[in-house]
């Protein structure tokens, strides 16, 4: 049985470790660059409403890309770092289940990605002028789907970090997060490519900035189900791998 207190404590520890490593400074730098981008754009001015949409698309694409990068890098280094520093052994010496450790690490990566996404998205929605008509329903779907999308990315990073060396895992994870969509597009006639985990499928930024109507309820739920099934599979597989490891 999962112990929620243990999961939360481990997640808290992972987040504190992230803060200790001054990752927040890197995040602050990215946010500063983003604000600079928006500031320069507002200073240069918008020649027409289409330019506003261009900036909105650019901003949201950067935000989604960055928050997934944070979730991926954080999840990919959790277990290798613990093993390298040998801090995992005292943790496992306590009455903590291995599943709690994995779930805690995964939750921390998801939480960090979500914080970055929420903070930057708030800034973007407030600061970037919306000069054309956009569908509020599509925006809501975009925001809601980023929760399973980030959870998906975090699960992917964690799984690969248990399977292979950290850098290779990170590289493969990044290829899937940012490139699986293109692979599926190129090979859409080959059913095998649809087996690839593709968190980018849940990204509705282009749909939103294009002014397109929200997805039908059925499609939206199927997308959420798609992400949830991958998350369950990847987290379960990571827990199994951790159980079989002689740590």
């Amino acid at each position: 049985m999962i112990n929620c207190n243990h999961v939360l404590l481990i997640a808290r520890g992972a987040v504190l470790e992230m803060l200790r490593r001054k990752d927040l400074a890197v995040l602050g730098l990215f946010m500063g660059l983003f604000l600079l981008l928006v500031g320069v754009s507002r200073f240069v001015g918008f020649d027409n409403p289409a330019t506003g949409t261009f900036l909105l698309n650019l901003s949201l694409t950067l935000i989604v890309g960055l928050s997934h990068l944070i979730a991926l890098t954080m999840s990919a280094r959790q277990m290798p770092d613990e093993l390298e520093r040998r801090t995992l052994y005292p943790l496992l010496a306590r009455p903590v289940r291995r599943a709690d450790v994995i779930l805690g690490k995964w939750s921390a990566s998801l939480f960090t990605g979500l914080v970055v996404f929420s903070a930057m998205m708030f800034l973007a929605l407030v600061l970037v002028p919306k000069l054309e008509t956009y569908q509020i329903g599509t925006l809501l779907q975009l925001l809601v789907l980023q929760l399973p999308a980030l959870a998906f990315t975090a699960a992917l990073g964690l799984y690969f970090s248990m399977r292979m060396p950290r850098l290779l895992g990170l590289f493969l994870g990044a290829i899937l997060v940012y490139g699986a969509g293109y692979v599926v597009s190129f090979g859409r006639n080959f059913p095998i490519v649809h087996v690839l985990p593709n968190p980018g499928r849940l990204n509705l930024v282009v749909r939103y900035t294009d002014g397109v109507a929200p997805l039908a309820a059925g499609e939206f739920l199927m997308l959420a189900l798609y992400a949830c099934l991958w998350i369950v599979l990847l987290v379960a597989a990571t827990i199994r791998l951790f159980h079989t490891r002689s740590v």
Binding site: S41, V44, G45, F46, D47, N48, A50, T51, T53, F54, L55, N57, L58, T61, E132, G181, Y182, V184, S185, F186, P191, H194, V195, P197, N198, R201, L202, L204, V205, V206, R207, T209, D210, G211, V212, L215, E219, M222, L223, L225, Y226, L229, W230, V232, L233, A236, A237, R240
Partner: protein, 340 residues
């Protein structure tokens, strides 16, 4: 036992997710601003788009920029195009219209192109003056760094005519463009245009692939019609009193294409097209050029096939859409029917 159950669970999830993946994709939607030519032209003309022009959101766009860069011999020019391919296609249209005895009133626009060839590059005088991404020395505040930038990167004085390379080497990129986005009509049209220099049959099959995925796109029907006319021209004399069977058969196929294109064009062409060819709903100059080509070719091919009466009737019908078209006015004139 646990392992077996987990394997079954894994297989089930993979299968369900593959099915979900095939069934739900939020991106291939119809409409939307990114596919709107006029909207893209407006966005591309802004200073912000020029600054961040490389940050395009779709792979097709990125590749289109790269192909344009290649066509300009590596020199990066400020965003100035809506489509390279349609311009070229329009030239093709005019060429074929001339061959078929139809002279467009906007012929001068394309025939004014002043091209020469130097060291394998086609020098295009018409587009001289478009700013380069790396600025000229007198507009570059970076001094020696700017000079170094101009030396180490492909650069050409923007006041000089553009140098164009042979687009055939780009064919794989057009292929990738259309694979990544099967609704990217420009990719099919431009790819088909360059492919015809290698093989007309290949070009036709490339356009047909586009038609399979976009059966109601009139520009693709025009493209196939043009390619078939070119094929017919290679097979024999189009203006012969008695057409050879192969030529006749190809012209009949081309006529079917352009008639279908004209029919589809009338469904989508807005009523508010201005004199520059722009209209509501994303209608751009290149749509208008292809729309006119479908009308002109429908008339001229019908006439080439010997049915002058029907050609005149078609011309009268199309004059309701393009009242200023001199070729259509000429073709509709009863006196001209018997002089042909």
């Amino acid at each position: 036992m646990k392992s077996l159950l987990f394997s079954i669970f894994t297989l089930a999830v993979l299968l369900i997710n593959a099915l979900l993946s095939m069934r739900v994709d939020p991106l291939p939607y119809t409409g939307g601003r990114a596919r709107d030519e006029e909207e893209r032209a407006r966005r591309n003309s802004s200073s912000l788009a020029a600054m961040f022009g490389e940050f395009r959101t779709t792979l097709s766009d990125v590749m289109f920029i790269k192909t344009e860069r290649y066509l300009h011999a590596g020199v990066g020019y400020a965003v100035h195009h809506t489509a390279m391919s349609a311009e070229d296609l329009a030239e093709e249209v005019d060429e074929h219209q001339s061959e078929l005895g139809v002279h467009d009133d906007h012929d001068h626009h394309h025939h004014d192109h002043d091209h020469e060839h130097i060291e394998g590059l086609e020098i295009d005088h018409e587009h001289a003056g478009t700013a380069t991404l790396i600025p000229r020395a007198d507009r570059d505040f970076r001094g020696p760094i700017g000079r170094l930038h101009r030396e180490v990167k492909p650069w050409r004085d923007p006041s000089k005519p553009h140098a164009h390379t042979d687009g055939r080497e780009l064919l794989p990129w057009f292929r990738v463009m259309t694979m990544s986005d099967p609704g990217y009509i420009q990719g099919y049209v431009a790819g088909g245009f360059w492919l015809q220099t290698e093989s007309l049959d290949l070009a036709i099959s490339f356009i047909e692939e586009g038609l399979e995925k976009n059966p109601d796109d009139f520009q693709l029907h025009v493209s196939r019609g043009l390619l078939r006319v070119r094929k017919a021209r290679r097979a024999g004399d189009l203006n012969a009193a008695v057409l050879e069977p192969e030529v006749r058969s190809l012209l009949e196929l081309a006529l079917a294409d352009v008639l279908r294109a004209a029919e589809l064009m009338q469904r989508v062409r807005p009523d508010d097209v201005d004199e520059d060819g722009f209209g509501s709903g994303g209608w751009g100059r290149y749509h208008e050029s292809d729309a006119m080509a479908s009308a002109h070719l429908s008339v001229s091919l019908t006439r080439n096939l010997g049915d002058h009466q029907t050609a005149a009737e078609l011309a009268r019908t199309f004059l309701e859409i393009f009242p200023d078209s001199v070729p259509l006015q000429r073709a509709a004139d009863p006196e001209n029917i018997h002089h042909e």
